[in-house]
């Protein structure tokens, strides 16, 4: 074992360090620290992005070759297929979100830190949101090519649907990932819990995408409102309930 100076001999180490008195609130500083940690870990391991992107692309390819849809058929079935691919990718991505924290009981270390418990959830949700969006950015161009649909004219609207729909998947997904992390049948439990909750999100997102891809395109105002409303409800519930969800 390497030798090293004893702690008591080093007064700088023994002294209590200064804690920032003018820094951000514990919620925001904790949120950004956890988000940065998630991104750094993912950039290093690339476990989630590679797995989910390959899986989602496989789904899109398989449906494309199975149905060989015309442009008109693609406008009808394409939005549903696209959101099923997003859902599968999201489920695959969300399961390890809290499972990875169990390996060395790092979740306990996060809970011991003087940050708001919701910072843990929001930091992880933000990271999952980013990862799923990256998967979608890879997937949508492939979908456009294989399903022969044009999204150039509706790109801002589609981006908005993807943002709201993805948020609607990752907020409850991250919560259920935390809840099921300790369960024995967690691989089965997460989709079982998640799918019923996500059904309204998927219906609204599919409807919104279908409206945008229709000829002529229609603005999916009602579906977007539903998505935004669901996101706000999920986020509020997560903020207030997350602490008790983690308690033993």
């Amino acid at each position: 074992m390497a030798t090293h100076p004893e702690l008591a001999q080093d007064r700088n180490v023994s002294a209590a360090p200064a804690i920032s008195s003018s820094s951000d609130s514990p919620l925001w500083s904790g949120l950004w620290a956890i988000f940065a940690k998630e991104v750094r870990t993912e950039l290093r391991t690339r476990e989630l992005l590679v797995t989910t992107a390959v899986f989602a692309l496989t789904v899109v390819f398989m449906f494309s070759f199975s149905f060989d849809p015309t442009s008109e058929e693609s406008r009808h079935i394409g939005p549903g297929l696209l959101w099923i691919a997003f859902l599968f990718a999201g489920t695959l991505m969300l399961e390890p979100a809290f499972l990875r924290e169990q390996t060395n009981d790092t979740l306990a270390a996060l809970r011991l830190a003087p940050i708001a418990p919701s910072a843990i959830l929001l930091g992880k949700t933000l990271a999952n949101f980013l990862f799923l969006l990256i998967t979608e950015v890879i997937l949508v161009p492939v979908f456009v090519v294989f399903y022969n649909v044009s999204v150039a004219n509706v790109l801002p609207g589609l981006a908005l649907v993807c943002l709201l729909g993805t948020l609607g998947i990752v907020i409850p997904g991250t919560i259920f990932s935390a809840v099921t992390a300790h369960a024995r049948m967690r691989e089965m439990l997460l989709p079982l819990l998640l799918l019923p909750v996500l059904t309204p999100i998927l219906i609204a997102a599919t409807e919104a995408t279908a409206s945008l891809l229709s000829d002529p395109p229609e603005w999916p105002g009602m579906a977007l409102k539903l998505l935004a409303g669901a996101d706000i409800i999920f986020l509020t519930a997560a903020y207030f309930l997350f602490d008790s969800m983690l308690e033993e």
Partner: protein, 260 residues
């Protein structure tokens, strides 16, 4: 009905003012604290007072309630009944405020394997909003003998190195109360000797230390007070002045260190 003392508000700024240049130990009062997991009573109603600066060894076999008591103290679990109060330099503190002054070394390392040693400490420095974190992290890594491995992933570390980094993480914010849950698990004799030195230094610096173990030995012998638990209840408490130097210390347990 018992009147609860009003906790003093401890913020990052007041924490520094209260703790001063050196650590000040935190006292703890357990008032009829009980923990059940369904029908299982992990900890029976327990009242106990631990004074600032004490080094308490919790002894007992597996399942005796040691880890439960530590997790309750760390606010990782909520008591089924009773109250845990923390006493700092300015009076009673709430559990949340006490987190600024709490360091925990558990069974697991609580470190991220896919981050480097330095990145792990940087993460926790950000979570604890430590000013001048870079120099403190360097000093901690130096003290742990890991300065040359600061850029290596934790997954490449040996058990002893991980344990040293775990202690560095737990001490990063200068806690006044340290909880150790069987910290010698997996350590070789050299690692146990190193840990004993560190614990002695921390105790000398004024930290309150509570350490659970089911073994006796050099590390446990440092304790100024021992509390034995069995089936979730305290069966023996030596009080705050006794040490484990008595011949029956650790009786029935395998010695932690080999005899010379």
């Amino acid at each position: 009905m018992t009147t609860q003392p009003t906790p003093a508000a401890t913020t990052p700024a007041t924490y520094l003012a209260l703790s001063g240049p050196l650590r000040l130990g935190l006292g703890i009062e357990y008032r009829n604290v009980e923990k059940r997991f369904g029908p299982v009573r992990a900890l029976r109603p327990t009242s106990l007072e631990i004074h600032p600066g004490e080094f308490v060894a919790l002894l007992g076999p597996n399942g005796s309630g040691k880890s439960t008591l530590l997790r309750l103290t760390a606010h990782l679990a909520r008591p089924t009944a009773g109250t845990i109060l923390f006493r700092g330099p300015a009076g009673y503190e709430s559990g949340l405020a006490a987190r600024w002054r709490l360091g925990v070394v558990g069974h697991a390392t609580m470190l991220y394997d896919d981050l480097t040693a330095e990145e792990n400490l940087q993460l926790f420095a950000r979570l604890y909003q430590i000013e001048g974190a870079a120099s403190i992290i360097s000093a901690r890594l130096e003290a742990a003998g890991l300065a040359e491995r600061r850029s290596d992933l934790v997954r490449t570390f040996s058990r002893g190195m991980r344990q040293r980094l775990t202690l560095a993480r737990a001490l990063l914010h200068g806690p006044g109360l340290l909880l150790f849950d069987e910290p010698t698990t997996g350590l070789d004799s050299a690692g146990c000797e190193w840990l004993a030195r560190e614990l002695g230094s921390l105790h000398d610096s004024g930290c309150t230390i509570i350490m659970s173990t089911h073994q006796g030995g050099e590390v446990t012998a440092l304790a100024t007070r021992t509390i034995s638990l069995e089936s979730g209840r305290i069966v023996r408490d030596t009080g705050s002045t006794a040490t484990l130097a008595s011949p029956d210390a650790g009786r029935g347990c395998a010695p932690l260190l080999p005899s010379p």
